[in-house]
Amino acid sequence: MELAHILNYDFVQRAFLAGMLIAAVSSILGVFLVLRRFSLIGDGLAHITFGSVAVVMLIGVSPLYITLAALPLVMVSSLAILKLTQSKRIQGDAAIGIVSSIGIAAGIVLVSLSNGYNVDLFSYLFGNILTVTQEELLLAFIVFLIVAATVIIFYDDFLAVTFDEELAKTMGVKTGRINTVLFLLTAVSAVLAMKVAGIMLVSAMLILPPLIALQLSLSFRMTIIASVIFSLLSVIFGILLAFLLNLPAGGTIVLLNIGFLLFVFVAKKILPAQR
């Protein structure tokens, strides 16, 4: 099929637009998460999303609105992870593990209570960007605007909390609020990324682009921009390759990200330092 012909389809245009918006959101938030050693939160929230999707499926929500219906539960769970990570008795990664296990376990039990494993659930597990609805595209656009505005307006606060949370407190930064906003936005981003990459690969959308950008040894601002660029490139070319070679888009996008990471890593080893 010709590329120009493919791009005429509404659902393909929606896939590209939603994919790019979600890629931008995930890669911006990912920089803060990776640097704060919260890389695995994407995994935890994806597993919670699985449980939440199972809940809304059990209730009988229309497939068109499953993503939107799963949002509140995932957002509440993200705050639970935040609360647990702040606990003196539980390590951050263990906290994510606890919530993650609850999501998967609840999901498996609830799915078995409804219709067993079905096609719908598998489309969430492995992603299907071609099924992005108009409402989900609108949500992705709104979330993109919120994330971009939040990071621009509170750039210094996010930078300070990411650099050193204790120091940020002595600068008057409301670290609790910044953490809450970061976790809530990550929850929304994880739910949206589920449509692109699938529950199994949500964390890759959050982690890989920032990791590639971090290899480039740039300033903080440029690291965020580079992360967004790599994420957009992988989504655009990932979807194109998926169409042309009849591959699953989610897996192709993530493998492209891995390819970029390896390329940058090897190039950095081979090329002499420029600084």
């Binding site: 640097l35 003196k88 210094d156 930078l159 300070a160 650099f163 050193d164 204790e166 120091l167 407190k169 002595t170 600068m171 008057g172 930064v173 950008a213 971090l214 040894s217 740039l218 300033s219 903080f220 601002r221 440029m222 690291t223 600084r275």
Partner: protein
């Protein structure tokens, strides 16, 4: 003179262990207070309670006359934490980005002036990971100084600095104090406290001594606490220090 810091009956417990017990103190505007004590005596914990990083189990803290819970004028405070060694070596930030972090109105000339003061103006576009330990410390000092705060709190500020930069740092701090900036300095180096600070707070989970350095040295109670040899060593360490101002 008004109280810049006032602490009343502060107790801090962690996991059932009392780390600080019934601490009361007040630091007046323009003072230079040295806080000393052995490892684990609660020096850094006290500062973290004062700055709201840790929550006291009991007692109250006032900053510039306001209760800590409602204090908003954080630009009046410059803080250099002890744990610079915990800096993420791979954090993607330039020296300029870190030093100007949190400043609403950025001024390139002011940045260069502060970096020059700390001898790192040539490093403004370098990433943290490209700096030596001492350069990182100077960057953090520049960050604390650039806001021209009314209160400077340093927790073991010169640990990684060479003697020359250390002297420059204390000279700058001394000048700022002469111009009215209140300074709180935590250090093991009682020689430094004797040389620069007007008041000494000696901690061992509670206040062992609070007063002037001269009173500390003349106090029979302190002789009883430390032994005459140790007290003599603490009190006369700075006599041997070469003054490079």
């Amino acid at each position: 003179m008004s109280d810049v810091i006032r602490v009343d009956d502060l107790t801090f417990c962690y996991n059932g262990t009392t780390v600080l017990s019934d601490i009361s103190l007040s630091i007046q505007s323009g003072d230079y207070l040295g806080i000393a004590g052995s490892n684990g005596s609660g020096k850094s914990t006290l500062i973290k309670n004062i700055l709201g990083i840790l929550q006291p189990s009991k007692g109250t803290v006032h900053l510039f006359g306001q209760p800590l819970s409602s204090f908003q004028q954080w630009q009046k405070i410059g803080y250099l934490p002890q744990r610079i060694n915990a800096l993420n070596y791979h954090f993607p930030c330039t020296v300029a980005e870190i030093v100007q972090m949190g400043i609403a109105k950025r001024n390139a000339a002011e940045l260069q002036k502060t970096l020059r003061l700390m001898g790192i103006e040539h490093l403004s576009q370098k990433l943290i990971g490209e700096l030596s330990y001492g350069e990182q410390q100077r960057m953090m000092l520049a960050r604390a100084l650039i806001r021209k705060p009314e209160l400077l709190i340093f927790d073991e500020p010169t640990t990684a600095l060479d003697p020359e930069t250390r002297d420059v740092f204390y000279s700058i701090t001394n000048d700022l104090n002469r111009d009215g900036t209140t300074v709180v300095l935590i250090t093991h180096d009682t020689g430094i406290i004797g040389k620069y600070a007007r008041h000494l707070l000696y901690l061992d989970k509670k206040v062992i001594f609070a007063g002037t350095f001269e009173d500390f040295c003349a106090s029979p109670d302190m002789t009883g606490f430390f032994g005459s040899d140790s007290q003599h060593l603490i009190c006369h360490q700075h006599d041997k220090m070469e003054i490079k101002l």
